[in-house]
Symmetry: C2
Subunit: 395 residues, 2 copies
């Protein structure tokens, strides 16, 4: 058992030669992998915990860590870096992996009722919890940094500005926002671009917070947030946006989602899809699917553009903001740890560890692993009146 | 027969209500479709010519027009606009269309020897012929217009500049250019960015012309053009580019092409693929495949990004320059007609008509139809040192 684990750790260490780490085994023995000062010390409380990693991969690690059978001192993000090594995933492309794909598929058949439950599970943890580590605009998606030194607050506003420019929003235009969260996009676009818009979400906590903020800002004549499944949203809009919601749609419903976009958007109208994705099919992350995003599905870029093509949406511009999401998650993680005492008052230790692993693991996935962030601008059918260059986004 | 044709023309006219045109039938009768002054008059010399359109679509029209059994007076491009109506293609998604897909597939199994023949067929028509309607840099791909008023010469240089910026070329870097044509890209990058590079093509006329120009510019220590199949190109390069060559690869060889790119490019290196494509599978254009680009295959966007993902190339930025290719082709077409007397001295009337239809039909395909122009920037594996924004392309 220990020999097998050692072999895996040696392989990982060889691939990531820049990471030094120490392992304390269940029998008291310890060993350092790599050269230098260990970035973290990982302690196995039992042999069983180690076995579960070998058997269940990330799911096994996650559960044993959450339950305190594995402990980590030092830089947790470097541990996640180690785990994000793409080669590790290739190793696992075996029968269990294929079964995992199937299971994931079954778990992401997101009917309206299941979607409501799944969204509530993640987003209704309490606005006070999210306030502890999100920025003041309560933006829960990839920010857009002009420089490494930008604050998260600034980068989130820059993200909204970037999207408004890409959508070429003009005063009086109407905007549909599927998966509007706490309303950050709608509020920004209403205040700075004078649009009128509707957003929908399946989180009651988001509707309450967002509607209250809209009233506080005096924007209730321009924008509103409703509790509704995207499949039931109606109307015709000049522009369309969806930020960080497509990940909840599920493979089977991609055509449904895009057909809805097509029906909401005026002919030639501009839309923007902002979503996590990847350029290559990889094994599903069973732990994330079980504990963080039930029903979640990270779409492959080709699935998105193929779906758009079939629906009559024309992809016009794609920007991969991968590194921005790593930076965003690293900042969330920092804020989370700074406020972990407050989190402990809200939830038990298992939750505290679960969320830590989610934030750090996601950051590592973007920086070193297989996850990407795509912003895709598209038109509904052809539009021959667009600016010739993308200069207008940058001046 | 006439009734069926009339029905088709009425349907086309209804979809394109802004185009008025006159048809002169083989029996002397004539009819105007749409309102206003006809943009063109199409005359059927025989009933057979009309029959062939109904039976063979674009292939039938093209052959009958080339043979002079159909004549067109007035604005030929508006006739192509009519033909580019996407709905027309949907009508034809029948058994013959599916057979067409299969045939196209068989015709695009581009082995090295077949590639050499196919490329020579199109590009070895004589440099003097291409000089009649290309710009002075002999650039035979989509230009990049900053404004509607830019000359073709300016727009082609801007295209090279745009690509150099996207590739973040630096002095002394090495660049591989697959399908380098008459050398425009290599010469621009060598002169303005001080790169060293190699380009390959399967047109002897292009090698001769390009090598001569490189010597004339005194750049022979920096760049060279070789007669070689892309599958045989070797070396490791800092950067990679391919402009308007991917359309000759063929569906079956997309993985081969991308694996070659992967092997030529340094880890984390930047590459740019500039290619015609479409977001949706559409019936093959039998006429173009037979007369213009034997072995040609217009890839679907999802095939490209899926192929990249499988090969380890990470798509980072996609820009759809569709309308620029319409403008480029419209300008080529204008120059072609201005020099048609000189073309007539080189080729017969059938060729003159064939090329007219190619240029006008292609322009209409980009402006009104289903063809797009993608510039995709990618990295070989991850690159965490890229600029945060795309501002550097625009300042």
């Amino acid at each position: 058992m220990k020999a097998m684990l050692d072999k895996l750790l040696l392989a990982l260490s060889k691939i990531n030669s820049d990471i030094c780490f120490e392992i304390r085994f269940w029998d008291g023995e310890s060993k350092t992998y790599g050269e230098g000062k260990p970035a973290f010390v990982l302690t196995f409380g039992s042999e069983r915990a180690a076995k579960r990693i070998l058997r269940d991969g990330a799911l096994g690690f996650g559960e044993e860590y959450m339950d305190g059978n594995i402990n980590v001192d030092g830089d947790f993000s470097e541990l996640m870096h180690l785990g994000a090594t793409p080669t590790i995933e290739d190793i696992k492309l075996s029968l269990p992996t294929k079964l995992g794909f199937l299971l994931q598929h079954l778990r992401t058949l997101n009917s309206a009722s299941r979607s409501a439950k799944n969204i509530s599970y993640h987003y209704d943890r309490g606005n006070d919890f999210y306030k502890l580590w999100l920025d003041e605009s309560m933006t829960y998606s990839c920010a857009y940094f002009h420089s490494e030194n930008d604050t998260l607050e600034k980068a989130q506003q820059q993200k909204y500005e970037h999207i408004c420019r890409k959508l070429q929003l003009k005063k009086g235009e109407t905007l549909a926002d599927i998966g509007c969260g706490w309303g950050g996009m709608l509020i920004y676009a209403a205040k700075h671009y004078g649009i009128k818009g509707v957003g929908c979400t399946l989180s009651r906590a988001q509707v309450d917070y967002g509607q209250q903020k809209i009233r506080a800002e005096g924007l209730e004549d321009q924008v509103s947030i409703i509790y509704q499944d995207y499949r039931k949203l109606t109307g015709t809009f000049d522009k369309f946006v969806s930020i960080g919601m497509f990940e909840h749609v599920g493979k089977n419903y991609i055509p449904t989602f895009l057909a809805k976009v097509h029906s909401l958007l005026k002919p030639s109208g501009l839309g923007l899809l902002h979503t996590i994705g990847k350029e290559k099919a990889t094994p599903p992350d069973a732990w994330t699917l079980k504990y963080i995003f039930p029903g979640g599905y990270i779409p492959i870029l080709d699935e998105i553009v193929r779906g758009m093509g079939k629906t009559g949406l024309v992809p016009n511009d794609m920007e991969n903001l991968r590194i921005h999401y790593a930076m965003t998650l690293e900042e969330w993680s920092k804020r989370y740890e700074a406020n972990v005492a407050a989190v402990r008052k809200m939830f038990d230790e298992r939750f505290v560890r679960m969320w830590r692993m989610f934030l750090n693991g996601s950051a590592a996935g973007f920086r070193y692993g297989t996850t990407r962030l795509y912003q895709i601008v598209f038109t509904n059918g052809l539009n021959n009146s667009l600016p010739l260059t993308r200069q207008y986004i940058y001046s």
